[in-house]
């Protein structure tokens, strides 16, 4: 950024600028002066694993440029320089309980053993016994914490095996058995980030709303102090969790309101009718309605708000779930014998692996890859407060909760993307062939915990360790970030 630009920003700051600019400008100036690094973390999950024959790059060596991307990865071809493909990762599932997708989701995002099940909920729904990776990195990283909204959780579909199932619906946990509910309605994500300020609206009513919220939250803090004075010490941790949550919300209010127009959202998202009931489907998993169009739209709207939030540095930590592993999302135009048939993704994945089923699942994977490519492109094409592409300072983990449809937890098809300022050593094909395998995985895989531990480096979290004990991890995978 040139001196001219810096002076211009200071000038605008001095005259007050437009609504909500003062805080933004303050951060921009701090960034200019090298005081703030808006490094961002996105964990993006798609369900039901992959089809290996259409996933693994074809080639040899460690240089991705020497590999050809098969059809599922083909939409991501232009991002080779900024990505790492991992082969040989396994979820450290030994000693845990729960169904394939359920256990897989909890292990994927917390890295901790999950031996206990919720009562009911199909009998295969494990409690998460620790905080999730995004929250651990957030709490350990001053880079990530320096945002008004500490973290955002979104999901594009909530339907799962049973109405009450918890584990496949959550990618974030603030602590043991403490799921952080995602927003399903894009408008809710928007309102969380931008409050109730109408795009381009005045700021008096928003200031009133903020003042009211602060008044209410202040009372909560006082009430907590009273409760702590009479609570046994064994319960203080619970009160701490409540207080931390309240203080975090208070912090969000200390910033000036930010006009979403300024952040690139001229309109608030439309109100979408989010599916809550399972559509009828037959024994061949043919549904009566197609979901993919709405599914895509919900994803796009969530992503638009996330991008705007990144642009204005309103948050830096995001988990994005397309749908639970045990989903009921139906896709049209994917079933080879009959493109007009609406096939349900998860339930079809449990049919025998006929050529048609395999092809259907591969096409759905391609669909998700295409959406990912669109998201990454949008991050490259949008600049943040430094004037640089948002992508430059963003790390995106692309994960899923099973290796493939048979619930295998081996060879997890995970990717990692990072912009040039994250220090990622992209253009890399990483294959497990060295390092101690984790005994909690099967078939001597390298634990997925080691993948996450590697993310400590770009976020300044030293000695980031994930897992109950060293049967669940070997150590951060080296050579991913410089």
């Amino acid at each position: 950024m040139t001196m001219h630009s810096l002076n211009r920003r200071k000038f605008l700051y001095g005259i007050g600028g437009a609504v909500g600019l003062s805080t933004w400008l303050g951060r921009a100036i701090a960034q200019e002066q090298g005081m703030v690094n808006p490094r961002r973390l996105v964990i993006l999950q798609r369900p039901v694993g992959t089809i290996y024959q259409h996933w693994w790059p074809q080639g040899s060596g460690t240089n991705l440029s020497n590999y050809q991307f098969p059809r599922i990865l083909a939409p991501l071809n232009e991002f080779k320089q900024e990505m790492v493909v991992f082969r040989g990762l396994g979820l450290p599932h030994g000693g845990s309980a729960g169904g394939g997708h359920e256990r897989g989701t909890v292990l994927a995002v917390t890295g901790r053993r999950c031996p206990s099940l919720y009562p009911g909920n199909g009998g295969d729904d494990p409690y998460a016994e620790g905080p999730s990776v995004d929250q651990l990195l957030l709490n350990g990283s001053s880079y990530l914490r320096a945002a008004p909204v500490q973290s955002i959780q979104v999901s594009c579909d909530q339907r799962a095996d049973t109405p009450g199932e918890v584990s496949p619906r959550h990618l974030s946990y603030s602590g043991p058995r403490a799921p952080m509910r995602p927003y399903y309605q894009p408008l809710q994500t928007y309102e969380r980030i931008f409050g109730t300020l109408m795009p381009g609206g005045g700021d008096d009513s928003l200031r009133r709303a903020h003042a009211d919220k602060k008044s209410v939250l202040d009372f909560a803090i006082k009430d907590l102090a009273r409760m702590r004075s009479v609570a046994p010490s064994s319960q203080w941790e619970k009160l701490d969790a409540y207080e931390d949550a309240v203080r975090e919300l208070e912090k969000e209010l200390t910033n000036d309101p930010t006009d979403p127009v300024f952040c690139g959202m001229p309109n608030q998202p439309e109100n979408i009718q989010v599916n809550t009931r399972v559509d009828p489907y037959d024994g061949a998993n043919v549904a009566t309605e197609r979901d993919d169009l709405k599914h895509r739209r919900i994803g796009e709207l969530h992503w638009a708000t996330i991008r705007a939030a990144f642009k204005c540095d309103l948050t830096r930590t995001v988990t994005f779930q397309w749908s639970p592993g045990t989903n009921h999302v139906s896709f049209a135009d994917m079933w080879p014998p009959s493109p007009s048939t609406f096939k349900v993704h998860h339930t079809t994945s449990h049919k025998p692996s006929t050529a048609d089923v395999v092809e259907f699942l591969a096409r759905v994977e391609v669909w998700y890859s295409q959406r990912l490519a669109e998201f990454l492109t949008s991050l490259k094409e949008t600049t943040d407060i430094t004037g640089k592409p948002i992508f430059d300072n963003t790390v995106l983990a692309y994960i899923t909760e099973v290796g493939q449809a048979n619930h295998s937890w081996d060879n997890m098809p995970w990717l990692l993307f990072g912009g040039k300022d994250t220090g990622i050593r992209g253009n890399q094909m990483w294959t497990h062939g060295g390092g101690r395998p984790s005994s909690a995985t099967s078939n001597n895989m390298r634990s997925t915990n080691d993948y996450w531990m590697a993310l400590g480096r770009p976020f300044g979290v030293n000695n980031f360790v994930l897992g109950n004990d060293n049967t669940m991890y070997s150590g951060a995978i080296s050579g991913i970030f410089s």
């Binding site: 009562p119 109405p163 403490a178 009211d212 008044s215 009372f219 009273r226 949550a245 975090e248 489907y281």
Partner: protein, 658 residues
């Protein structure tokens, strides 16, 4: 006498006498076996030896609870050399005693092979902590066994209160219902309130984080926006009178916080009011109400108690009122209960019984308890059930909801008068036109949308186990499920010994079988002859097969989906808990109604919900201390009273003391 010597003599006694008599075989006179005659009989009716009797009172109940799925005579579970695993959890105490003897060392119980199976091998006992806990229980039981044999007395299983002090964050349903109790049902639209039919069967699973607080902030905001519209009327403050506002706020907070207030609290709330009152008087009331709804005191309830002379913590009257109210209604104590707490009357057990009796006459309490029982049975899963529209064109989300409603109305009829076992055998149900068609019975009402009380006159249906709700919820999309229905009977219905999940390495074979197109009967037959499937499936598949005469949405049929004729007879011999043949679900239910398992299991569920301890077993002393006062004629209200008056509900320990 050293314990080891006692054990050697004991072992000699057994080997000489085959374990059937209490005679000393040693001339030393120093026998470890008690000279007292046996005090109970084995299940075969034969007199038990002293050792068997002592075993029956100490270790045997633990083995039955934890090992009965595999370790009984006639089991399919085998060692690699094809010998059956020991039958130390057999129905017969004598058989179990003989089987366990080689694996226990009464002189050095810690080194017993049985204990090592838990503490070292972690054999089918769950997490390391759970295994160690069970190992500890085995060691104590072995000590007690030895004590009795030596003529000592054992005080029975210790059933001192053991649940710790707790701070409970309200889950979504109680939070919303509490707001409605405070401000009025109308502050939320029906569609915005959590569905009680899908509530989680636990009160203690909610943990605070930003997303939860943010959601509650929004909910509270929504509710008070509606409240503000009638604030003047509801508060009684028809003019902008600050004193009136204070009175209203104080009264509301007292009820919301479920305890008396301290002065500071009211002053702090008035500060919030004053901040809002700069906009308008009613806005001030709105803001103060919002602060109350978001406060931790409203969002939590406490079970701290007051220390008594025995070192235990007795819940205060206000805490007990909350515990009782959230157990029975998922909501705040009503005015009458709150007043009994305020006056201290609720410290009196007789007053507690009076309050319970009063609350159980209320429609809202009965509805809440019905939902609680349905939640224990996982019937809420019905709402996520999809069925093949080609095979079941009449099925829809609406019909699923109607099935649920039938069962709820059925419970309404049978839970609140007469024996709770009527739930198994009751021949009156409630159907609308669609359900009558499903059951193939005439609809006698004038409006097909209305539910009509209907007598079931044939032997095809009676009681819960032949209702569409159960049969549909525990089936697949296009087929029944012997396994799901069998596991329901084994678990949520009767609380029989738990069945471990299939080993990971058979999962793909299971999927292959399910996709093979075989009928449910063929799949069950395959499991019955295949290792390792038969080891566990032998214990519950027979229950599931009984229901094959009802399809995946509960319609009666004589032939399955493959055209095979259905035999509803169930051979329950050689099952860990039963030993008979029944002609089908109706006869099975009648048999159950003459036994204890169902009532004990319902007791367990209510106890688990009331105390928030969903891991509790029906054989645990806290539950058996309730069920020992029940019998086959006991009503649902009797069970509730038993739970409510249990010391476990009203007494806590400090967490460090566990």
């Amino acid at each position: 006498m050293p314990k080891k010597m006692c054990f050697l003599l004991f072992a000699l006694t057994l080997s000489a006498c085959g374990g059937d008599s209490g005679n000393n075989s040693s001339g030393s006179g120093a026998s470890s076996s008690s000279s007292s005659s046996s005090s109970s009989s084995s299940s075969s009716g034969a007199q038990l030896s002293a050792s068997e009797d002592a075993f029956g009172k100490t270790l045997y109940p633990l083995l039955r609870e934890n090992c009965a799925i595999c370790h009984f005579s006639g089991t399919f579970v085998r060692y690699p050399d094809n010998q059956p695993v020991p039958a130390h959890a057999d129905k017969s105490i004598g058989v179990a005693h003989t089987a366990i003897t080689p694996f226990v060392d009464l002189a050095m119980p810690d080194f017993s092979r049985l204990v090592e199976r838990m503490s070292v091998d972690r054999h089918n006992c769950g997490s390391a902590g759970e295994c160690d806990k069970l190992a500890g229980e085995f060691i104590k039981a072995l000590d007690d066994w030895d004590t009795i044999l030596n003529g000592g007395a054992v005080a029975g299983p210790s059933c001192d209160p053991s649940f710790p002090q707790d701070l409970i964050l309200l889950s979504d349903l109680p939070y919303v219902k509490s707001i409605q109790s405070l401000l009025g049902d109308w502050v939320f639209e029906q569609k915005d309130t959590p569905d009680p039919a899908t509530k989680l069967f636990t009160q203690k699973s909610t943990v605070a984080n930003t997303s939860l607080i943010n959601t509650r902030l929004d909910l509270a905001s929504y509710a008070v926006d509606n409240f503000q519209r009638r604030a003047a009327q509801l508060s009684g403050c028809l003019t902008a009178d600050r004193t009136c506002a204070r009175t209203f706020i104080e009264k509301t907070a007292r009820r919301a916080f479920k305890r008396p207030l301290v002065n500071d609290e009211v002053n702090d709330l008035m500060q919030v009011f004053d901040s809002g009152a700069t906009v308008s008087f009613t806005y001030g009331l709105r803001l103060a109400a919002q602060a109350i709804l978001l406060s931790p005191s409203f969002n939590h309830r406490t079970e701290y108690g007051r220390l008594n002379s025995e070192g235990l913590y007795e819940l205060t009257p206000h805490e007990f009122a909350s515990t009782l109210s959230y157990m029975l209604t998922d909501s705040l104590p009503d005015e009458t209960l709150a007043a009994a707490a305020d006056s201290g009357a609720l410290s009196d057990p007789a007053e507690r019984e009076r309050q319970v009796a009063r609350m159980l006459t209320q429609e809202s309490t009965r509805a809440s308890m019905e939902y609680t029982l349905l939640s224990a049975w996982n019937f809420g899963n019905l709402f996520g059930k999809a069925k093949d529209p080609a095979m079941f064109p009449q099925y829809s989300a609406n019909l699923a909801a109607q099935m649920y409603e039938e069962t709820r109305l059925f419970l309404r009829k049978y839970l609140w008068s007469g024996s709770v076992n009527q739930v198994l055998t009751g021949r009156t149900t409630f159907v609308n036109g669609a359900l009558a068609d499903l059951y193939g019975i005439p609809f006698t009402g004038s409006d097909r949308n209305q539910f009509v009380e209907t007598q079931l006159s044939d032997d095809r249906r009676a009681g819960l186990l032949t209702q569409a709700s159960f049969l549909t919820a525990y089936s697949r999309t296009d087929e029944t499920s012997v396994v799901a229905r069998g596991l329901f009977v084994n678990g949520p219905l009767l609380c029989l010994p738990k069945v471990p999940p299939p080993p990971l390495d058979v999962i793909s074979e299971v999927e292959e079988q399910l996709s093979s197109g075989a009928s449910e009967l063929e799949l069950a037959q395959y499991r019955a002859r295949t290792n390792p499937c038969k080891n566990c499936h032998s214990q519950f598949d027979a229950y599931g097969l009984m229901f094959e005469q009802y399809d995946a949405i509960g319609q009666h049929r004589f032939y399955d989906s493959h055209g095979q004729s259905i035999d509803s007879f169930a051979d329950l011999t050689n099952m860990a808990s039963f030993d008979s043949v029944v002609s089908g679900p109706v006869e099975f239910a009648e048999m159950l109604a003459g036994r204890d398992e169902f009532i004990n299991c319902v007791t367990r569920h209510l106890f688990a919900y009331g105390t928030g301890n969903d891991g509790v077993q029906s054989s645990q002393c806290e539950v058996t201390n309730i069920t020992k006062n029940l019998n086959q004629n006991s009503s649902f209200s009797d069970i509730i009273r038993g739970v409510v008056t249990s010391p476990a509900l009203s007494t806590r320990v400090a967490e460090a003391a566990q």
